[in-house]
């Protein structure tokens, strides 16, 4: 179910909130089972055939965690993590690797063409985080309902944020509507939901109109300089408003159910270095990659060469995680190399003026988004030729939407900061109500673009 659909906003969410409020008030012990059932319904709305997959995924991982708690056999965790990654690989990467293998002479592996279950990348990482911490003795086994909710909690199951067990498990045991700030949390949750929806519908989707034709044209042939810059800059901001808008909505919805999820974006296009960018962009993924991949690969504890290698491998795998395609790998490689250069720069004790640092970082990020968005290297190459002026100049550069998006993205404030301050004035409530309905009307107006991160 899409957050920006009528089915969710006008039916599922109000009904879920009403049920949740009733249960929280009159039968608190049913609250978590209710949230779990709602989450499975939400997940299965898209395609009910994926329901068994997520249920099996939860039950098997929970059973192994419980068994591990009683036996302490570490092989169980290794097998579980391997199995999780295998399932992810089967659904997401089987055809990709088969395609690579088929490039070898004499090899002909059939394509499976399996439908990719939504959110599989995200819930696989949730399993991995929990199991790794369980093995390290940082956490304990939870009952099936709590574990299931940790994996499938509907605000975050499809596209994150990637939540650590330690950030959410204790919240499940609260009586959220008994807190003194319950109404304030609920109200600020509404604000976050609306701000996120506005970012997605009013900015992200408007930019998509500038992006899609350009990248489609680039797959077929060359594009003009104006088209290349329009498409690339528009995508730069589209992906930010699309994904951060989704995260804001997720945070807001969770807050309405009394659960605080972690932040995922912090004005990334104000970053002064590439390292700074990754501290601000998809923050929960960055810390996952850092804690469970980069550090596991040696991190910065074994010398510069290994550090650079770990960084490179982490970002390359991070790129592959975003999509089963060589363009995603190339995007990850570019960021791995970029971060490596930053490490060397710092190690050399060199400094850089913040404005130059911001410019170079932004330019690097913009240019690498081309690899992320293009469907093939040829398509990306055609865009790069346009960006570098190796194509006809063209005309009709649609700059207005880009300019507005740039102002909002760079000057801010973030949605989190925006909703944290307002006082509960009745006029603000009315304004939000009107805004909400206007956004619903806008959703109905155009084809409702899916969230970009749904495919990952």
């Amino acid at each position: 179910m899409l957050f920006n659909s009528y089915a969710f906003l006008l039916v599922f969410l109000p009904a879920a909130l009403a049920l949740h409020a009733l249960v929280e008030r009159f039968q608190p012990s049913w609250r978590l089972p209710l949230l779990l059932v709602l989450s499975i319904l939400f997940y299965g709305y898209w395609d009910w055939r994926f329901i068994p997959l997520i249920i099996l995924s939860i039950v098997i991982n929970w059973a192994i965690a419980t068994l591990f708690a009683s036996t302490r056999r570490e092989s169980l965790i290794v097998i579980a993590i391997t199995a999780n990654l295998f399932v992810l690989a089967l659904f997401k990467y089987a055809d990709f690797f088969a395609g690579l293998a088929n490039m070898l002479p004499g090899v002909s592996i059939p394509m499976l063409s399996l439908a990719l279950p939504l959110g599989i990348s995200f819930f696989t990482f949730h399993h991995v985080m929990y199991l790794t911490d369980l093995r390290a003795g940082k956490t304990k086994p939870f009952d099936l309902v709590r574990y299931g909710l940790y994996i499938a909690f509907f605000p975050q199951v499809l596209a994150g944020p990637l939540v650590r067990w330690s950030e959410i498990m204790h919240q499940f045991d609260e009586r959220p509507y008994q807190r003194s700030d319950a109404a304030e949390r609920f109200a600020r949750g509404i604000m976050l939901l609306i701000v996120g929806l506005a970012k997605k519908v009013l900015i992200g989707d408007q930019l998509a109109v500038n992006v899609n034709p350009v990248f489609a044209a680039a797959e077929l042939g060359s594009v003009t300089v104006a088209q290349a810059w329009q498409g690339t800059l528009s995508f730069t901001f589209q992906i930010y408003f699309d994904f951060s808008g989704y995260t804001d909505m997720a945070l807001g919805i969770a807050l309405m159910f009394g659960v605080v999820l972690p932040q995922n974006f912090d004005t990334p296009y104000r970053a002064l270095s590439l390292q700074d960018f990754w501290r601000r962009w998809h923050m929960t993924l960055s810390r996952f990659l850092r804690d469970y991949l980069y550090i596991a690969l040696g991190g910065n504890r074994h010398g510069l060469a290994l550090q650079l290698l770990a960084l490179f491998a982490t970002m390359t795998l991070g790129g592959l995680w975003h999509g089963a395609g060589m363009t995603f790998v190339a995007w990850g490689v570019a960021h791995g190399v970029g971060l490596g250069v930053c490490v060397l720069w710092r190690r050399a004790g060199l400094s850089m003026h913040p404005i130059i640092g911001w410019f170079l970082t932004f330019l690097f990020v913009v240019l690498t988004w081309v690899l992320f968005r293009a469907e093939s290297f040829q398509g990306a190459l055609n865009i790069y030729e346009g960006l570098l002026g190796l194509a006809p100049l063209g005309s009709g550069f649609k700059w207005r939407a880009i300019a507005w998006a740039a102002v909002f993205a760079m000057i801010g404030p973030t949605a989190w900061a925006l909703v944290h301050k307002p006082q509960p004035h009745p006029l603000l409530a009315v304004a939000l109500a009107v805004m909400f309905i206007v956004l619903l009307l806008k959703i109905g107006d155009s084809e409702s673009y899916e969230f970009i991160y749904f495919q990952f």
Binding site: Y6, L10, E167, S180, D181, A182, A183, E184, R185, F186, A187, R188, I190, L251, L255, V260, L261, P262, Q263, D266, M283, P413, T414, W416, A417, H420, K421, Q423, P424, H425, P426, L428, A429, V430, L432, A433, V434, F436, I437, V438, L440, L441, K442, G444, D445
Partner: protein
């Protein structure tokens, strides 16, 4: 309230508050509860108020409201205006098709046959949209139509009935109230509401009731240079984009189903509109091989149902070699449309036998 966030974020928020120096109101849980209540009542009140208003006013004249402020609808595109035309009881027969039958004047058919005709033409329309228009027209007839004229151009030979070239408001033509309500909820409906109010107070003209639009006013005859350019373009072979070399013709099947639902005394005229000779498939191409196959499919369809006729001008005939009859390869002038009209009238009046 504490939300999670980085220290930098928290400090920034605190900084904003300090800089703004906003006076803190006396905020209690009750004021937040009131805030939430106002939002909920406001949002759902606004939502239901707006939907109720649009349902009551019915700006596209779908017939779902018990009241009607003014007959007809304001001037607008045919995709939305045809909803009102299609249910207009003043007409009991229709011309349905895309711009290839746009030039057939329903008033001429009416004058020639005595049957009131409406043109439900969707420019750029593909079979799916035109069949939807057909269904809407039929669903709003008290009695079966006396005659139906359907424009069958090349797009009806496709093997894909789901093809869509331009957006089409299927929700307006839906008989499901839920589909209609969901579709109605869009900001373009607000524009429709505004236009309708302008029309009610006389500030916007009415859309032509019988749906005829003479596109000569768009093309015009033009200057000699423009005319020469037009003829130069006509001389270039156009090619055929959609070639169905298979045996599946879903659009023909869909028409057959609809024809079967009509009483036998309803006259059906399937018009294969004129195409300038260079717009026809070139000899020896796959498109040329596919052409007679598709023609035979519709000819067989006409044979199998009584009172069903084909007016086939998609042929190599002298009129289709005269550039003076065309604006482009598939859009012809009134001079040719008049010939078509005469043939259709003759068929409906029973003065012309079905063509093979």
């Amino acid at each position: 309230m504490q939300l999670t966030g980085t220290e930098a974020q928290k400090e920034r928020v605190a900084g904003i508050g300090r800089r703004l120096g906003l006076p803190m109101r006396d905020v209690t849980p009750a004021t937040w509860r009131r805030f939430v209540a106002i939002f909920a009542v406001g949002a759902f009140g606004f939502l239901f108020g707006l939907l109720s208003l649009m349902l009551l006013i019915d700006p596209f004249d779908t017939g779902r409201s018990p009241i009607r402020l003014k007959e007809g609808v304001p001037q607008q595109g045919p995709r939305t205006a045809n909803v009102s035309r299609g249910r207009d009881p003043a007409f009991d027969s229709a011309i349905i098709g895309n711009s290839r039958v746009q030039m057939i004047d329903p008033a001429v058919l009416t004058a020639g046959t005595g049957i009131p005709f409406v043109a439900l033409v969707v420019q750029g329309g593909l079979p799916k949209e035109l069949l939807t228009t057909w269904d809407w027209f039929m669903a709003h007839r008290q009695k079966p139509p006396k005659a139906m004229v359907l424009g069958i151009d090349g797009v009806w030979c496709s093997d894909d009935l789901s093809k869509q070239a331009n957006p089409f408001p299927y929700w307006l033509y839906s008989l499901s109230t839920l589909d209609y309500l969901q579709g109605l909820f869009r900001s373009s409906s607000l524009s429709g509401l505004r236009n309708y109010f302008s029309y009610v107070i006389g500030q916007r003209p009415q859309a032509p009731r019988n749906g005829f639009w003479n596109y000569e006013s768009v093309y015009g005859v033009g200057t000699p240079e423009q005319l020469a350019h037009m003829r130069g373009e006509l001389d270039k072979p156009q090619g055929t984009a959609d070639v169905n070399l298979g045996t599946d013709f879903p659009a023909a099947r869909a028409i057959a189903e609809r024809l079967a639902a009509l009483p036998a005394d309803t006259t059906v005229v399937l018009v294969r509109p004129p195409v300038y000779i260079t717009g026809m498939p070139e000899q020896g191409t796959p498109a040329a091989a596919a052409e007679p196959v598709c023609r035979d499919i519709f000819a067989k369809l006409a044979e199998e149902r009584p009172n069903t006729h084909i007016v086939d001008w998609r042929l190599d005939r002298p009129e289709n070699r005269d550039p003076g009859n065309f604006f482009d390869h598939t859009h012809y002038r009134r001079s040719l449309a008049e010939r078509l009209e005469a043939e259709i009238v003759a068929i409906i009046d029973g003065k012309r036998a079905a063509q093979p």
